[in-house]
């Protein structure tokens, strides 16, 4: 029932108000005196040599898609877990088959070396 989520809405609304108010208060209070070297990107005191908008390695993509896949797996675990007692042994076997198929995939990518960040 949506009524149960009213505290969450209040929480989100409070954050939505708090963040702009904090930023605005900080802007009003702090001294504002920018200069060229102050506005430069800070990289451990070393002058930046290049634009940071380069192409990133494809490994990030693998990490992201594996995250999506195993996220979906965890999502399926949740409705099973709330009904665990009602579903009994049959549900347990069902979930074990589901997990087994995914563990096969996990072992495969492990052997393939896709998890290594060379």
């Amino acid at each position: 029932m949506p009524q149960n989520y009213v505290p969450i809405f209040i929480f989100i609304a409070f954050i939505g108000i708090l963040i702009p108010v904090t930023l605005l208060a900080a802007k009003l209070v702090r001294p504002d005196n920018p200069s060229k070297s102050k506005l430069m990107p800070y990289e451990c005191g070393i002058d930046p040599v290049d634009s940071s908008r380069g192409r990133y390695t494809v490994r990030y993509y693998i990490v992201a898609i594996l995250f999506v896949v195993f996220d979906v797996e965890t999502i399926f675990l949740f409705p099973w877990a709330v009904q665990f007692k009602a579903l009994g042994v049959f549900g347990l076997i069902e979930m074990l088959i589901f997990l087994l198929i995914l563990v096969v995939g996990y072992i495969w990518i492990w052997k393939k070396g896709a998890l290594e960040w060379v």
Partner: protein, 172 residues
């Protein structure tokens, strides 16, 4: 009444996010608009009583899928979009086409259902009910999903791994 007001507010927010997604020229701005669309859709699902779908919408779509989108934008190093003549032609025909299409869908829906509405919470939406349905009535589709997910894992690794490091015999 407050139910309806919240529903309309987040519906409007969702549409505004979707329009902003199309109008923005930088892909990152579009991606952030998509987060707004996903988030407001989650609230709409919640208001319809689909609690589990709302949670999935936030966790999978606004969380994981958006991370994937942002990584793809980083990967392609996509810059500002350049408006071309082709896209202007698409706009000229696309907007009337979209209006006609959505009017058609709306007309069919009104024609078929009339003024009937579904009360919030009348349809199964709680995780408890979903769990029962998933592991009883929809058992085979659930198991097939694991195969689908397995194919997604293998496809991603095959597509994205480099041919040189693809030998499979590499040790650490």
């Amino acid at each position: 009444m407050t139910h309806l007001i919240i529903f309309l507010f987040f519906g409007a927010l969702c549409l505004a996010g979707a329009v902003n997604l199309l109008v923005q020229r930088h892909p990152i701005n579009s991606a952030l608009s998509l987060v707004v669309v996903m988030g407001s859709l989650a609230v709409e699902y919640l208001l319809l009583g689909a609690e589990f779908v709302a949670a999935v919408q936030v966790i999978v779509y606004a969380g994981a899928v958006m991370v994937l989108f942002v990584f793809v934008i980083m990967l392609l190093n996509a810059g500002e979009e350049v408006r071309t003549k082709g896209s202007r032609v698409a706009m000229l025909f696309g907007i009337p086409g979209m209006l006609v299409g959505s009017a058609l869908v709306g007309w069919v829906l009104i024609e078929r259902t009339g003024s009937q509405t579904v009360a919030a919470g009348a349809l199964p939406g709680a995780p408890r009910t979903i769990g029962w349905l998933l592991f009883h009535n929809f058992l085979l589709p659930f198991e097939v999903t694991s195969i689908l997910v397995l194919i997604a894992i293998m496809g991603a690794v095959v597509l994205a791994s480099h041919p040189d490091t693809d030998s499979g015999k590499k040790k650490s």
